[in-house]
């Protein structure tokens, strides 16, 4: 592919962006065709971090494969685990205790906040503002500490397992989450003051990288990337799992479809996550944190599909079982893969300088795309 770089017969310039570019946040390689500063084509080359997780899972049991999925979208590790656990539970037809359900949602929403915070800091850094990165990491660190106390890990938690959660929450969990929420509420406003209202920032975001509603659906975009274009696609609302249907929160929709709309969706979503946590943190039911399951899980013959809303969009787990202890075939429908496919369409006819803003607001996580 590297011999393609240079000037084409029409006089267009073909350049590389990545795989080691700091704004791709991972090993994504884009081959960009430019006419002056205008983008004519963006061609993603994937596979630099491909581990063939789907193939690996075919030789792992239903208890083991969940650990691999934390390594897909490592910023939504809990939610990946959650999706797999739900899919296995769907096959086994087991009910999980209400305590486990509430704990699962709490850690999911904390993960969503942590993920959006990292995105916010990193995206502002892409646009040249370095301070937000430190601000975001300061608060994200608190969430990591809470996770570490309860699950023993800071990034790849593997905490949600078929039947419930791995261990009960730490005695400090409720106290620390509450003090975090208290702190974080004032911080979100600080973020708005620092970045959202900034004239330069808005100038670089508004009207840049516009994705229409029809295109968002056609390209299979989900999550904040699609909700910025006005597509109702929050799985928590459409196909509620656990006890999301009993909770009060809003699906955030923006209609402009540009980078700024996608940005605003995530900022407003963080506030909704706080709302969800506030409803649950004092109401964690007593009881078991895990249902009684067999040591070796065997799914009946059949097909099972489960989708959840990760921080990036709709994650789907499709298990085909032949009745054994390992899946016959497993497919992960990762949100990033579909969102990336729209990048060429969004970036075309835009300026090369805007590409970073567009990519930043799509919130690409490369291990999630490559799997």
């Amino acid at each position: 592919m590297f011999e393609e770089i240079g000037t084409t017969a029409e006089g267009d310039l073909v350049i590389n962006m990545g795989p080691q570019h700091p704004a791709t946040h991972g090993v994504l390689h884009l081959l960009i065709t430019l006419n002056g500063e205008t983008i004519k084509k963006v061609e993603p080359h994937l596979g630099y971090i491909h581990r063939s997780i789907e193939k690996m899972c075919e030789s792992l049991t239903y208890r083991q494969f969940i650990y691999v999925t934390s390594r897909m979208d490592y910023l939504s590790a809990h939610i990946n685990n959650h999706c797999c656990a739900l899919c296995v539970e769907k096959g086994l037809q087991i009910e999980i205790p209400s305590r486990a359900q509430v704990i699962r949602i709490l850690v999911d929403e904390l993960t969503r906040i942590a993920s959006h915070e990292l995105w916010w800091g990193a995206m502002a850094m892409d646009l040249g503002a370095f301070t937000p990165f430190f601000y975001a990491f300061r608060e994200r660190e608190t969430i990591n500490d809470i996770m570490e106390e309860t699950s023993g890990a800071r990034l790849t938690m593997n905490y949600i397992v078929p039947g419930g959660v791995m261990a009960d929450i730490h005695p400090n969990f409720q106290k620390r989450v509450k003090s975090f929420i208290q702190l974080f509420k004032s911080k979100v406003d600080e973020y708005d003051e620092l970045v959202t209202g900034n004239v330069i920032f808005q100038g670089r975001m508004k009207g840049v990288g516009v994705l229409s509603k029809e295109d968002a659906i056609s390209y299979g975009c989900t999550g904040p990337a699609a909700r910025g274009s006005g597509v109702n696609c929050d799985i928590r609302k459409l196909y509620p799992y656990e006890i999301y249907n009993t909770l009060e929160f809003d699906e955030i929709l923006e209609t402009a479809g540009d980078s700024f709309a996608r940005y605003m969706v995530r900022i407003r979503e963080m506030k909704q996550s706080i709302r969800i946590i506030e409803q649950l943190i004092d109401n964690i039911p007593e009881g078991d944190f895990q249902a009684k399951t067999k040591a070796v899980l065997k799914l009946p013959k059949g097909e099972f599909y489960q989708r959840v809303e990760t921080a990036r969009g709709e994650l789907g787990v499709y298990i085909i079982s032949e009745g054994g202890t390992t899946p016959y075939r497993i497919k992960f429908r990762s949100p990033g893969f579909s969102n990336l496919s729209a990048l060429d369409h969004i970036a075309r006819a835009g300026k090369i300088g805007d590409l970073v803003a567009t990519m930043g607001t799509l919130d690409l996580v490369i291990p999630d795309i490559d799997r």
Binding site: M56, S59, S338
Partner: protein
């Protein structure tokens, strides 16, 4: 929309289609040559509008390959699964990337991992595997890689 209504409409469009309701959603088994016409109808019919292809994948059953398309409608919220058996030695099916743009990337992934040839695909090249990859398709069941394969 209820599965019964969906079944009646699809049977009208395509008499050779067979149905399977054992799973969560209605499964429709079709022949690969019928897929492009049915896909257009599913996408464009006003009473169905299956506009969101949320999962496209392939399964190697050792004797044959099966293409699996998960479709939903953002308007009516009904889901269906389309399945089509392909010959394992020379798997071919028409592309749907002109109907659902998301299929372009997903079909490229299936092309390299399973070796399915998507007819009329605009850009059928390797996506994830390195350039110059030769040999078998990694996601097929008979793929062996003595160096990198993880076996437990």
């Amino acid at each position: 929309m209820l599965n019964e209504e969906l079944k009646i409409t699809i049977a009208e469009w395509l008499s050779s289609a067979t149905f399977d309701e054992s799973g969560e959603w209605l499964n429709i088994n079709i022949e690969p040559q019928d897929w492009p016409i049915l896909a257009k109808k599913l996408r464009n019919d006003e009473n169905h509008v299956f506009d969101f292809l949320f999962c496209l994948t392939c399964v190697d059953w050792k004797t044959h390959l099966t293409m699996v398309y998960h479709l939903t409608s953002t308007k009516y919220r009904h889901n269906i699964v389309i399945k089509s058996k392909l010959n394992r030695d020379n798997p071919e099916i028409e592309t749907v990337s002109d109907i659902w743009r998301t299929a372009e990337f997903h079909e490229r992934e299936v092309y390299e991992m399973f070796g399915v040839n998507f007819i009329n695909h605009p850009d059928l090249r390797l996506l994830i595997l390195p350039d110059g990859w030769e040999g078998k398709n990694p996601m097929r069941k008979d793929f062996e890689d003595p160096i990198n394969m993880i076996k437990l």
